[in-house]
């Protein structure tokens, strides 16, 4: 994610969602179990009442004196057995008892089971029976029995008096019903949570933005300061002593060190270039004087000419370095005077034709209208000649170079279009860099390359005039260099 602001908001949202979810789950769970406990209590009371009712019914029936249970005596293989039978009297009485009811004799044999009991499947009937026999009578709360199909609460009462009926067992089903309160709570959470979440995220975004506004300010200021010309400026301190103040102090210290080292570098370049000028003047003076000595031999002249050429190249390099060092400081040492471009471009055109004649390249210039700019004629000539020289240098024999000068509303453009080898796309961003040169093989081997400062200087000249120098090119399709200069409206 791009900004810390967005990251913070996201982290906050995740934390919030987690908190809300956990809280909702806990409160829902608590409400649910509290509800279940209340319902279970009520059921326990019901079962106890049912058990009491069952017991009373049996006792009343016993009190009437009529026999409730008859016995069928059987003797099988010498063993005597008596099988109890419930009389219709008791059966009629027991039919009025609701829910699950069991009546057992002392041997645990079932004397009666209710309609609800009989609806259970066989396995459940067996396990319910076993529980009823095993459970201790007259104990509250009732015992829970988990059958396969349902959960029952059972309560046993013993029937005193030593009659054939030993105990009665009442039971009631514990139904898993959703309470109304949990449902209401659940839907409340479900609806409210997203709304709360949205509001919270919006609030978090605003708060994060506010917290980071000073950082944005610092970023903008640092960008403005480090554009290379404003290193003397410092960030403003708000004096609050928080993290941002410390960051600002650190940045200020860093900018100061940058300023110091940049200044040292510029001073070195300027000093070195400057110091080189005097020895170059001396060398040049020596060479020029030696060339005018009478009776100097051709061999000596040749050596002196070689020396002079090198001195000139060195002088040009020193001049370029010094110019660029000053440009880095934002100083443009330009003469400003009205410059008529038509004669200047004609002169450049003538030079281009001379160079083109040697290199087998045609040079074209359409009819010009005269325009005047405010500028430094020496530097503008240098700029134009540089572009023309390059165009010829990187165009193969038989190619063509087109110059043009045109006037627009508030600017003039001078273009140099060649049909040469062009510039590779990944080289294009670097061609105005200092000391940068594409593959040296590109220029004709017989020619000696420059120092790689020509286009850097050319761009500086255009820039110092308030204009620009741009290039468009495709490998193998030639290049177009365009100089744009603001029109001197006071002279037109």
């Amino acid at each position: 994610m791009a900004s810390i602001r967005a990251q913070l908001t996201t982290a906050y949202a995740v934390a919030l969602v987690t908190t809300v979810a956990v809280f909702a789950a806990i409160s829902y769970g608590t409400t649910l179990s509290a509800d279940r406990t209340a319902r279970e209590r009520a059921l326990e009371q019901t079962v106890a009442t049912e058990a009491d009712l069952l017991l009373r019914t049996v006792q009343q029936a016993e009190a009437s004196g009529e026999p409730l249970v008859t016995f069928t005596i059987t003797i099988t293989k010498g063993k005597r057995d008596s099988i109890p039978n419930v009389t219709p009297k008791l059966r009629t009485v027991l039919e009025g008892v609701p829910d699950y009811a069991l009546v057992l004799d002392a041997k645990g044999r079932t004397l009666y089971n209710s309609f609800a009991f009989r609806q259970l499947d066989q396995d459940d009937q067996v396990s319910l029976n076993q529980t009823a026999i095993a459970m201790r009578a007259d104990r509250f709360p009732p015992e829970a029995v988990d059958l396969r199909s349902r959960r029952l609460l059972l309560m046993a009462r013993s029937v005193p008096g030593g009659g054939p009926i030993d105990r009665v067992v009442a039971g009631s089903e514990a139904k898993e019903e959703e309470g109304v309160a949990p449902i209401a709570l659940g839907s409340a959470i479900f609806v409210a949570a997203p709304i709360i979440l949205l509001i919270s995220i919006a609030a978090a975004y605003v708060i994060a933005g506010r917290a980071f506004r000073p950082v944005d300010g610092i970023i903008n200021e640092v960008e403005a300061i480090t554009d290379g010309r404003s290193l003397h400026r410092r960030l403003a301190l708000d004096g609050s002593g928080d993290e941002l103040t410390r960051l600002t102090r650190t940045l200020n210290a860093m900018i100061e060190r940058l300023e110091t080292s940049f200044a040292a570098l510029r001073r070195f370049t300027a000093d070195a270039s400057h110091e080189l000028k005097t020895p170059l003047t001396v060398m040049r003076a020596d060479v020029e004087r030696a060339m005018t000595v009478p009776h100097v031999s051709t061999e000596q002249l040749e050596a002196l000419e070689e020396a002079l050429r090198e001195v000139r190249r060195m002088s040009d390099l020193v001049d370029s370095l010094l110019t660029l060092a000053r440009a880095d400081e934002g100083r443009f040492d330009l003469v400003r005077e009205p410059v008529a471009l038509e004669p200047l471009v004609r002169e450049v055109y003538e030079t281009a034709m001379i160079l083109g004649e040697d290199a087998g390249i045609s040079v074209y210039l359409p009819v010009l209208e005269d325009v005047t700019v405010s500028g430094d004629p020496t530097r503008l000539r240098q700029l134009f000649l540089n572009l023309v020289t390059n165009a010829i240098k990187y165009t193969p024999r038989g190619g063509r170079v087109d110059l043009s000068l045109s006037k627009r509303l508030d600017a003039i453009t001078f273009t140099v279009r060649d049909s040469g080898i062009g510039i590779a796309a990944n080289d294009l961003p670097h061609i105005f860099d200092r000391f940068w040169r594409a593959d040296r093989v590109r220029s004709r081997a017989s020619e000696r390359g420059g120092f790689g400062l020509g286009l850097a200087i050319a761009q500086y000249i255009a820039y110092a005039h308030g204009g620009s120098l741009t290039v468009s090119s495709r490998l193998g399709r030639g290049s177009v260099f365009t100089v744009t200069l603001p029109l001197d409206l006071s002279n037109s």
Binding site: R289, T292, S315, D319, T351, I354, D358, T389
Partner: protein, 222 residues
């Protein structure tokens, strides 16, 4: 014309002194600011050539002192500072013109002439060599009375050679004269121009005026 050269570097000083003496001017050379100021104050010079970086007293202070004393003779400043503000400073301090190092003697001479406003022998409007005539005002060129059309660069090269007739002029000097300091074509552009000039000046004439000095440059002579 008497010229005072205040320049601490002996090579540059001697070079300037001899070059000016070749123009038959009287030249005194001193290498110290205070000494230079003392001499210049005597008011016996027609022109002072003043280096800006001097031992004893900086050139700018010498200039200020001279003007403060009412010395009005033209002062031509030699400076390694080609920054505009430095140039403006020297001109405001009372300099009449400046030459930035490294300079070609040709330029220094032209500025000395301009500042002293004294045309020397060479600056007569017409240049002549044998039957070749160059009118420096109209830039018309004639050989044996026949007008010859020259392009601006052809004219510049020819004029430079004729002005130094009899002397071998190197390609570097010719290039610098016709195209300025910042032009480095990386090829011998002068040779192409000389070819044109030969066709226009020498073709059809028995006496060739333009001669090649292999490896060096060209000389114009009868």
């Amino acid at each position: 014309m008497k010229i005072l050269v205040i320049e601490d570097d002996p090579t540059v000083g001697q070079f300037v002194k001899r070059g000016l003496e070749e123009q038959r001017w009287g030249v005194d050379l001193v290498g110290d600011g205070e000494e230079g100021e003392r001499l210049a104050s005597s008011d016996s010079y027609d022109l002072v050539i003043l280096d800006m970086r001097l031992p004893g007293k900086p050139g700018l202070q010498v200039l200020h002192s001279l003007r403060a004393r009412g010395i009005v003779c033209p002062v031509l400043v030699l400076t390694a500072q080609d920054a505009v503000d430095a140039k403006v400073q020297t001109l405001r301090a009372g300099a009449d013109d400046y030459v930035t190092k490294p300079f070609a003697f040709e330029e220094l001479l032209a500025r000395v002439e301009a500042v002293s406003r004294r045309p020397r022998a060479l600056t007569t409007p017409a240049l002549r060599l044998d039957d070749l005539v160059l009118d420096r005002d109209t830039r018309e060129v004639k050989r044996a009375g026949q007008p010859i059309e020259l392009t601006p660069k052809e004219y510049a090269v020819l004029e430079y050679l004729v002005r130094h007739a009899g002397k071998v002029m190197s390609r570097t000097l010719i290039t610098e004269y016709a195209w300025g300091y910042h032009f480095d074509p990386g090829t011998n552009i002068v040779d192409v121009v000389i070819n044109h000039l030969r066709k226009k000046i020498d073709a059809g004439h028995d006496r060739k005026l333009i001669h090649t000095v292999r490896g060096v440059g060209y000389v114009v002579k009868v």
